[in-house]
Symmetry: C2
Subunit: 346 residues, 2 copies
């Protein structure tokens, strides 16, 4: 039976950006009308995209820089990212119509996925919201897990500081650190987020960095004993302030530099000498280097969630139309928790 | 028999400094006339100082900063550092008159050492110049050894870059890296030092950083494949340039920041984002954290030297009078190799 053509709205990158993205860097296009089928012989699947993930790393893909760990988007083309999707048609024996999958998908209503080895099937019997597969149980969650356990070398009783602490990654790092027996302080950019950290996410303390004139002094106040572990999501002056407050043999896991608009923006440091005198380790990481830990992560974090030991805060925007604002909002801290776009209902 | 009083010239710090030291920050004083004896019941030794070591870390002790890993000197008092000395009198059964020792001693002709547990006896039957016990076999040599093997995680074939490469530490790092099967490039600040690196110290390549307008471009030229290990003795813009040229999973061992005049001088970085995208580890260290490796170091490096596998370049100045200029000269790169002051002949 011949299938009907349907409209397929898409989010397109207009052109490469310099600096922080604005909504008009992205555009909703109506795209070509497509058939909802996976062509015979393609071995692919045709999916309906349900949830799309907004992640800070995507800014890097909007820039004309080809020498990094991930290639840039193509101007005038649909962008891609992590998503949760439902199989609508399949030419691949491993995927059946009606199944849910997660992996890299285009920012559009329907996608033909040919690299099916990059999709992971979601078992929907686990009482976990589908959208969590791009957050708590997706790349951000795994980033938190791998960064904390594999990079930070945590010990019970360690003093742990997390910037952008209510974000997709930070909120899980803090909860894992608490489960590990650490003292945990987070910073965020609104009083609402600070309350969330203290009241819902179980941080010992939290503060609004925008209300602090002197970040070094603020950290000294929250960490009179100094910091053992700094989980850095922002870079720049916060990293510098943390260096001033690290303890001997402190560890800094560098996960993100959301304070930096461009890869080569100048950042000024006054406290680099502490790296020697306090024997600090600063270690950048990508979750993909620890991919062999992924099954263990899924098991552990699913378990914690089901046992009520951790929670997860999402910022859900509705409709593909909301996607440009949602993605751009990450860089001014508009999101409260993990930013997701609901493209369609399940 | 009552011993005579003898003159005891000393080097005194006049007052705390800001910025780079100048010769007049230090002063030769004639000191009190002393008896060349270790008082009964003191358990100490009276030593004649033969060689004094000039080390960059000493600048930190000339500043009024009390929160670091080592306390500052006291103004108007004799300064101290590593030295090689001969026992002239002893109230300690472990040390005999005529023996040679190395450890912390005052910058003066004769010193009464009461903390004898910090002295190490030198076996003089090993064909190694006495002065090497503050260089190749002393703190700088051990810094090179511990930094290279314990911090850099070297592998055969690694591309290794060393700044201040002809200095007390760098020259040994480079030779150890060559013995380890690495490709080794060093930088220094004169063409004479560059020749030394290439012709005497066995580096694969070397360059004069002062002749390079663009350090990033210079490193890209010497490391078209990128840098696996950067052994950093200088910090600042050279560290930033190295970050731009590191390979994925590169390691930076931060040993010194001789480019920095003050602990909190601003340093500007453009390439910090590479720490994430290339998963770079930046690790500060002090040799003292690895002290359990010291016996092994002595055995290994003594062996390499006796087998002719390594050499060591010293810059020897004669007389305590030369001490202020010798120490200060470190910070403008006047020394060629390890800077030592010969206070007296053996």
């Amino acid at each position: 039976m011949e299938k009907d053509l349907v409209e397929n709205k898409q989010i397109v990158l207009k052109s490469y950006i310099n600096g922080s993205p604005v909504e008009t860097d992205l555009e909703l296009k109506h795209g070509n009308r497509i058939k909802l089928e996976a062509p015979k012989g393609s071995n692919g699947v045709l999916v309906k995209n349900l949830y799309l993930s907004c992640d800070p790393y995507m800014r890097g893909r909007m820039q004309d820089f080809h020498a990094s760990y991930i290639r840039p988007f193509r101007p005038a083309s649909v962008i891609e990212g992590f998503g949760v999707s439902k199989v609508v048609d399949s030419d691949n024996p491993n995927f059946k119509i009606g199944e849910f999958v997660t992996g890299i998908t285009n920012w559009e209503e329907y996608s033909l996925v040919l690299k099916t080895d990059q999709l992971r099937k979601i078992q929907q019997d686990d009482g976990i919201p589908l959208s969590y597969h791009v957050g708590l149980l997706g790349m951000p969650g795994f980033t938190a897990y791998a960064g904390f356990y594999e990079v930070c070398a945590p010990k019970k009783g360690d003093y742990v500081y997390i910037s952008a602490a209510s974000g997709a990654v930070g909120q899980l790092v803090g909860q894992l650190a608490k489960l590990h027996g650490c003292y945990v302080v987070g910073s965020a950019g609104t009083s609402h987020k600070v309350q969330l950290l203290k009241n819902k996410l179980g941080f010992d303390e939290a503060f609004n960095y925008k209300e602090e004139l002197d970040l070094e002094a603020a950290l000294a106040r929250y960490f009179p004993q100094g910091i053992d572990i700094y989980f850095d999501n922002v870079g720049g002056s916060m990293l510098d302030a943390a260096l001033a407050n690290m303890r001997v043999h402190g560890r800094v896991a560098v996960c993100g530099m959301v304070s930096q608009n461009n890869r080569t923006d100048k950042q000024s440091f006054r406290n680099m000498f502490g790296v020697i005198s306090k024997r600090i380790t600063i270690k950048g990481f990508l979750q993909s280097d620890f991919i062999e830990k992924y099954p263990r992560f899924l098991e552990d974090v699913t378990g914690y969630y089901k046992q009520g030991k951790i929670v997860y805060v999402e910022n859900m925007n509705d409709g593909l139309e909301s996607a440009p604002a949602a993605l751009v909002g990450l860089f001014s801290g508009k999101n409260v928790g993990k930013q997701v776009i609901r493209v369609a209902s399940e």
